[in-house]
Symmetry: C2
Subunit: 279 residues, 2 copies
Amino acid sequence: MTILTLISSNKMFGGQHQRYRHFSNRTECEMTFAIYLPPQAENGQKVPLLYWLSGLTCNDENFSTKAGAQRLAAQYGFALVMPDTSPRGEMVADADSYDLGQGAGFYLNAIQQPWATHYRMYDYIIDELPSLLAQHFPLNGQAAIFGHSMGGHGALMIGLKNSERFSSISAFAPIVNPSETPWGIKAFSAYLGDDRNNWAQYDSLALLAYAKRKLPILIDQGDADSFYPEQLQPQKFVQSAVKQGFSVEFNLRPGYDHSYYFIASFIEPHFAFHAKHFG
Amino acid sequence: MTILTLISSNKMFGGQHQRYRHFSNRTECEMTFAIYLPPQAENGQKVPLLYWLSGLTCNDENFSTKAGAQRLAAQYGFALVMPDTSPRGEMVADADSYDLGQGAGFYLNAIQQPWATHYRMYDYIIDELPSLLAQHFPLNGQAAIFGHSMGGHGALMIGLKNSERFSSISAFAPIVNPSETPWGIKAFSAYLGDDRNNWAQYDSLALLAYAKRKLPILIDQGDADSFYPEQLQPQKFVQSAVKQGFSVEFNLRPGYDHSYYFIASFIEPHFAFHAKHFG
């Protein structure tokens, strides 16, 4: 059993918001995650789990403090896990820019050095973390996944590749086609190398064709988001998904930007969406 | 008219969350505040105003990002102003500790040097800021005041001294009797000097007897708050207020601590309380 070290525990909306540290066998470093356990879990009930994946520069604390999500997790009786966005530490490779290295893991398994040693966030999120959570917390096996920006990419990509593991996917301002947009091209070149044949396995637009189950998808995008026209372009993904028979709800939100103020404004319908698909 | 420089504006819950900078004639330095304008204000309606006063170490951003208050401000149609907790800048006196100097203004007018030059937060909050807000924003003149910890002290103290200006007062884990508790004794000694005759004018417990109107008061306190037994002791204030004919609701919340996770959990009833007293 992986040893979890409790960093902090704060009562919130009748449940507990906790941070844990543990050594990861996938990223080969100490990892930190936050989990919110709703009051229902404290009463011995097993509850569904929402995975939240954060964007560039974030760690487990951004969504924890800024999104207002625990109120809804308590209301719906969902646990909420908020992992970090990359491996961290002095021994872990890093870059000077905000969009590569620590805080910018892109939820993939790197195959190029110096990244390949620790940057195995895909395995961490889909393999090690779920097993660890199942061991330590009262979860009923139902799961959904959502995220923001780079984490929206993570949620869509991981959800599509593991459609048997989740009921639904949602995203705020996601990167949907990293092989063709600047942040993605920079990160994929560094982590995966120049051979673009290795990129499609982590590109949500390309993955649509390979999903075993066509999970329902919800995407919110602010039209005043400065990253929207170049980095994000979610409509490409939405159009392709609809053509391929996915049920996709896409909301373009007038005047909203890329910040957590945008996420907080629309987090409630994302909970309602995932609740509906848990059934 | 005071010139306001807009630092940022983010659409949130249909309204705008904005940060402004301006030169203050009271603190004689640049001050920053945040204001949330609900959708009702954008539609040309004049709205009531809630003043939020933050605690030690905070600036205008802590409550803005962590409390989940804008959702409720939008729902109720209230503007919400979040000033800084002290004067700031290289020219402004400071101390090495978190509980004195910048980030720890205690909402009073200092009379001892080196503090007296800039630390005039009382005048700033009750005089300059309201006038500036009335000039620039669509406010209907109704106001209430609330805060946390040092800001709970600020809300109670300012509300009691200016009871004709507010409809109601509320606080999370407030300092209620700074003349007799360690944070307050340290700050009052530095800012006001050793003559305790100068302290009572900023001590909420002492001010109860002098309030022109007995405003309704709501206080929430977590019983797992490590500052509760020594620094806060809200019951002293509650008992005295009730004896003097105030209507006080005091909620001791089992298991909650001093953090914004506690504030977020109970911010909703504070909005309902102030809404009821706006009528």
